[in-house]
Amino acid sequence: MSSSLEKNMLILRSSDGEEFIVPEVVAVMSKAIKNMVEDECASNTIPVPNVDANILAMVIEFCKKHDESEAEAASDLKTFDSEFVNRGQEALYDLITAANFRDVKELLDALCQNVAEMIKGKSVHHIRIQFLGYQLFEILTSNFIWNIWCDRDFD
């Protein structure tokens, strides 16, 4: 099977068994995969546990775009990034864990910036209710505890 592939292509297998064929330059944007390739401990098929096909496809899309557009205007890439990361909460969480776990720095930066924009200027109450799904009881108790813990914080 490996012989049928071009030399610089890699196969990534998601946690639910789907396989993606990607150029090596794209795959090694993930530091974790890069290390595996460099140490030559990877056969052509690299398992990517904890990341399902859906998310893996998104990550690959992002890496491909960044690889292609290295020469392109930075502003185009910015627009792409901001559109790319503009997703629902759950996808965002999955993407962040994937980017963190696979160590894809550009993606992690873009995602974290997006999260920062989302929570900027919002109160802790608001964030708990909107993003964390806290109930009233939890807010009361946790607020009480954290306020004691964080008494010495300046604000």
Binding site: Q89, E90, L92, Y93, D94, I96, T97, N100, L108, D109, L111, C112, Q113, V115, A116, E117, I119, K120, G121, S123, V124, I127, R128, F131, L132, G133, Y134, Q135, E138, T141, S142, N143, I145, W146, N147, I148, W149, C150, D153, F154, D155
Partner: protein, 298 residues
């Protein structure tokens, strides 16, 4: 008890759907998120959950909020005040104004942007005739950061000079003088101003200047008191502190150390002038200054 309760709330604290959500982002990612937020926002978010609290104490977050040469600033303090502090505590320490040079100068970081602000008391400047009590007096007051201002009764040669040498981090700074026309005091809990000595400032303008060690300079002139035309719409130059903006200078790198010489002069000896308080000179990043513009004259 606290631990058991908070673990209860955190285990329930994931997103509505029951799957992992926003609240389960690992601490290392929260650190990355914090790089895009301001210190007050970070401190506020530390209450959110355990990962956020851990990230809000991490050195890498706070190192990015401190100016690049914060070691130079720490060197102004006695070492026992900043030894063994985390980066977060260092930020907290530096964001409160602290005096140096015998208490004649103060320095602090802006809480939101972490940029360096400085203020130099009249005590730290060379004032012509300051030792003669017929001309100048020191007046203790709560209205100054340094708790004392120089009050001029009357003089012919009005000159105030100063110099500051400090490795300012790269930025654009605005230098301004803080001046009050008339003498103020508290009477029965109310602030009252007296203008018995105030005269001469409407005749000729005062000249403000500064120059830096790398050759930048700026100067401006301004009548400190309202002239007769101004008086028609009420005198806005009395009974309040006014910051007279002298100009801006650019620092490209903190090394070499920037030296700034500044002065304020009215040396036309054909008339006397008096009745004025000099508090301090402030050097503040220009866009911070614009944000809180109060009575700044162009």
């Amino acid at each position: 008890m606290g631990a058991s309760l908070s673990s209860l709330t955190e285990s329930n604290g994931s997103s509505n759907g029951g799957g992992p959500g926003f609240g389960d982002i690992p601490e290392s990612c929260v650190v990355c998120v914090f790089l895009y937020l301001t210190p007050p926002e970070i401190c506020n978010l530390a209450r959110l959950n355990r990962a956020f609290r851990g990230a809000a104490s991490s050195d890498s977050v706070w190192e990015s909020k401190l100016p690049s040469n914060y070691h130079d600033i720490l060197n102004l303090m006695p070492p026992e005040r900043h030894q063994n502090l985390t980066k977060k505590d260092i930020f907290a320490l530096l964001s409160r104004p602290f005096p140096f040079d015998d208490g004649n100068k103060a320095l602090w970081l802006d809480r939101v942007t972490g940029r360096v602000c400085m203020s130099i008391s009249a005590k730290g400047m060379a004032i012509t005739g300051i030792e003669d009590r017929r001309y100048w007096n020191w007046v203790p007051t709560e209205e100054s950061r340094f708790h004392v201002v120089a009050y001029l009764q009357q003089i012919w040669w009005f000159e105030v000079d100063g110099v500051i040498k400090f490795p300012f981090p790269a930025d654009i700074y605005t230098l301004s003088f803080r001046i009050h026309l008339g003498k103020f005091s508290k009477r029965l809990g109310r602030r009252v101003c007296s203008f018995e000595h105030t005269h001469g400032w409407d005749i000729k303008p005062v000249r403000f200047e500064f120059s830096t060690s790398d050759g930048q300079q700026a100067s401006t002139q301004c009548c400190l008191d309202a002239t007769q035309q101004d008086n028609a719409n009420g005198n806005h130059k009395r009974s309040c502190w006014i910051e007279y903006k002298v100009g801006q200078f650019i620092v490209k790198e903190s090394d070499p150390t920037t030296e700034v010489r500044f002065s304020m002069k009215q040396i036309d000896c054909t008339h006397s002038k008096g009745g004025l308080c000099v508090d301090c000179v402030s050097i503040i990043p220009s866009d911070l200054k614009d944000r809180r513009r109060i009575g700044v004259l162009k």
